[in-house]
């Protein structure tokens, strides 16, 4: 995806991650077990959770990996989600902050090796990382920094897939969990780059400072990617708990009430715009609608676009991006994509296609080694729910958005189909 505009939104009362006016003091050296335990307690008190999609408590992950011997740290900047650009924006704008966080995490878990990863196609990001690492010289004691470019596949950023690739295998998920057995078979901390940036900030400013933004259950700021029918799409930093309407205002606002939002990326959930627009942007508030923050993307579907057609394109893309290791995903996703396309084209085959989807979704959901098939079925189920009226229209041979150009970005993967 070409460079996406980065907005200094007015929404985060104090921009932290995309701030040009932040001053960074020195990082703690963490040379004693006491100092490390103090910082771990601070990160725990901060309530920091992963900013990569799974939202796992960061302190818990750090403690688990610290129990291993000679662990490894992986900074995950691969961002294989096509709708998301926040990690690329962060790495291009402030790679030193991310590396500070990775080095701090390494000191906390006792690692001497840090892998900084990005997608192969992200030339700007990789260049920024090279410069940043060169600038650090011997700043980081005995910690080796290695920049690795990963394949540009949707699942390549799944933590076990990334570890598989770092071990010399394909960028495909495995059943081993990295925190137990990862790079070189050692305990491995895989953390999203935005999460690591926050670790560096908490190390400098503390848990209380971190909690000044956000809600009690979901503290902090968050980078979000907003696309679709907004005047100023791009990446921005928001305070967690800001309503969707306020977030969209920070991205130039909407010309009209849209039809729906796709929340959380291509493993995410469609929600009707009217149901969601005044909800706070938090997992807790979105849960009743079956949604969660996921990859922290928000795509705005205008009234004159077709949610079914958009979903069909994404599902076909997700089917193409299956690692092909688990039968129910490898066979199930293309079958779901075909049924969905039949639904979209309408006519007399549509009712059978709907029945087919009802039989396929439970056979595919939850049966892969990774979340890929489950994410796809979640998207499909939410589309069938939110666009139910559109399904009826298609069955009757019409559509409310037949000619709208695509809203959801689909990468062109024809020329880059490798896994290694």
């Amino acid at each position: 995806m070409s460079a996406v505009a980065v907005r200094e939104t007015r929404l985060a009362a104090e921009p932290r991650l995309l701030s040009s006016s932040r001053s960074d003091g020195p990082l703690p050296t963490l040379s004693s077990a006491f100092a490390r335990e103090q910082l771990l307690a601070e990160i725990e008190a901060s309530g920091l959770t992963g900013r990569g999609g799974a939202g796992f408590p960061t302190a818990t992950k750090l403690r688990a990996v610290a129990r291993g011997s000679a662990p490894v740290v992986v900074a995950n900047g691969t961002e294989g989600e096509p709708a998301s650009s926040k990690d690329k924006a962060l790495l291009a704008a402030d790679p030193q902050l991310v590396i500070d966080g990775a080095v701090t995490a390494a000191r906390l878990v006792g690692a001497e090796e840090v892998f900084l990863t990005a997608g192969r196609a992200d030339g700007r990001v990789l260049a920024a990382l090279e410069l940043a690492v060169a600038d650090r010289r011997d700043r980081d004691g005995g910690i080796a920094l290695r920049i690795v470019a990963a394949p540009d596949r949707f699942v390549a950023g799944e933590e076990s897939a990334l570890v598989n690739f770092l071990n010399g295998g394909p960028a495909k998920p495995t059943v081993d969990r990295p925190f137990e057995r990862g790079v070189h078979d050692r305990a491995t901390l895989v953390q999203n780059v935005e999460t690591l940036a926050n670790v560096a900030l908490i190390a400098r400013h503390g848990a209380d400072w971190f909690r000044r933004l956000g809600t009690a259950q979901e503290p902090g700021s968050a980078l979000v990617t907003v696309l679709g029918a907004v005047r100023a799409p791009g990446v921005g930093e928001i305070e967690l708990g800001t309503t969707l309407r306020e977030v969209l205002t920070g991205f130039g606002g909407m010309a009209a009430m849209p039809q729906a939002f796709l929340v959380g990326g291509y493993f995410g959930t469609w929600v009707a715009a009217r149901d969601a627009v005044d909800l706070p942007f938090t997992n807790e508030s979105l849960r009743p609608l079956g949604a969660s923050l996921g990859a922290r993307t928000l795509i705005v579907l205008p009234q004159d676009a077709c949610g079914l057609a958009e979903t069909a394109r994404v599902v076909r893309y997700l089917a193409r991006e299956s690692a092909g290791q688990c039968g129910s995903c490898f066979f199930g996703l293309p079958a779901i994509a075909t049924a969905f396309e039949t639904l979209v084209s309408g006519g007399t085959d549509a009712p059978k296609a709907l029945e087919r989807l009802a039989r396929l979704v439970p056979q595919v959901e939850g049966r892969g080694a990774c979340a890929h098939p489950t994410g796809a079925t979640r998207l499909v189920a939410s589309a069938l729910r939110v666009f139910a009226q559109e399904i009826d229209r298609h069955r009757a041979g019409s559509c409310c958005g037949p000619h709208h150009p695509p809203v959801l970005p689909i990468p062109d993967t024809d020329h880059d189909h490798e896994w290694s």
């Binding site: 059943v175 290791q325 039968g327 199930g332 049966r367 080694a369």
Partner: protein
Amino acid sequence: MSKHIRVDPILCDGFGQCAELLPELIELDEWGYPIVSDAPIPASLEAHARRAVVLCPRLALAVERRRAPQLIGARR
């Protein structure tokens, strides 16, 4: 403590022998891959479960032991 059948979906290649040997707990999806019940393996089927595990051409099946969750401090 209970025992449960577990399948590694990456190792599994859809041979389907498991569903023939243990139809009470394993059925096949439309592509021939096992849908494994999470219900505990009854004692009467334990031998069948072990045979299914051993005969899987990909060694994709396992019997998993689960301890029932203990209530902490429940001692009256």
